[in-house]
């Protein structure tokens, strides 16, 4: 499994942990998520700068951007899905643990950092365009599938509305489906980039 995918899975698990931790800690966990995202980005960019000078195995600018968005989206998705899975966690703004604000904090940080990230270079070539097209296709198909399944369940097997399922929650489930499709798009792109790169012969002649 590509290392970039493992990192995204780690971010997803961290997002879940943040949401669960908010049950016990009276602290806005979104700030911890935001700090973790900024720290990872700074560390990754420094590491890639070192790789560029030493081995030449650093990812290109478009791949770096995809890695950043994959990690940020995974963190957000983990936080969102754990919040939706535990009805005890109050998701409403202005009540309980302010988890919606936590989600917005992570999203806002992701948007701010993305400006700095995109400044590092965003030149795409034909290979990047092909990979983006494959990712977009996977994301689109998963989005349609998710929404069709959700609509089917709501139409033919409607769950009983109550504390665990309100219209507010149903709306958030749709948002989770959209975020999941974005995550699938980025994961597909990362897998395609990993397939294209043979670390063993990135630099230096064979003959």
């Amino acid at each position: 499994m590509p290392r970039s995918i493992i990192t995204a899975c780690g971010a997803l698990a961290f997002g879940v942990l943040l949401a669960l931790a908010s049950l016990h800690l009276n602290f806005p966990m979104g700030w911890i998520g935001a700090l973790a995202l900024v720290t990872w980005t700074a560390w990754a960019w420094r590491r890639w700068a070192t790789l560029e000078k030493t081995t030449g195995l650093e990812p290109g600018a478009p791949e770096r951007n995809v890695r950043f968005y994959a990690v940020g989206t995974a963190l957000l998705f983990g936080h969102l899905i754990a919040t939706l899975a535990y009805p005890d966690i109050d998701f409403h703004v202005g009540h309980g643990n302010y988890l919606a604000i936590d989600s917005w904090t992570i999203l806002a940080t992701m948007i701010v950092v993305s400006f700095a990230v995109s400044k590092a270079g965003n030149i795409r070539d034909e290979r990047d365009e092909t990979i983006i097209a494959r990712g977009t296709k996977a994301g689109f198909v998963s989005l349609i599938a998710g929404l069709v399944i959700f609509s089917f369940v709501m139409a033919f097997f409607p769950p009983v509305q109550g504390k665990s399922l309100t219209l507010f929650m149903a709306g958030n489930i749709q948002i989770a489906i959209v975020v999941a499709s974005l995550l699938i798009k980025y994961a597909t792109q990362l897998i395609e980039y990993a397939k294209d790169t043979n670390a063993a012969s990135a630099i230096g002649p064979d003959e």
Partner: protein, 86 residues
């Protein structure tokens, strides 16, 4: 993408041209260095436009730069057509 039948001599041409680096070649043809890596390792087949740019950068033909890995590819088909026509 991982089982391409198209091979290339980019690495050899690059070193024949005063040991041109991957970054230099990437700049000349207008792609990222990672794309040159993917091409040299046979993981990516370029568009015709990029193939012609690469050939122009080395001052050779596309034929000299790219080749089919399977020398028998298409020959059986072509032979059957020739036999049919005659």
């Amino acid at each position: 993408m991982t089982t391409l039948q198209i091979g290339n001599n980019i690495r050899r041409f690059r070193f024949d041209q005063a040991e041109m680096t991957q970054a230099q070649l990437a700049e000349i043809v207008g792609v990222t260095r990672q794309t040159i890596v993917a091409l040299e390792t046979g993981r990516y087949a370029p568009s015709l436009e990029l193939a012609m740019k690469l050939a122009a950068a080395f001052g050779c033909t596309v034929d000299a730069l790219f080749f089919w890995k399977d020398p028998e590819f298409g020959r059986a088909d072509a032979q059957s057509h020739i036999n049919k026509d005659s």
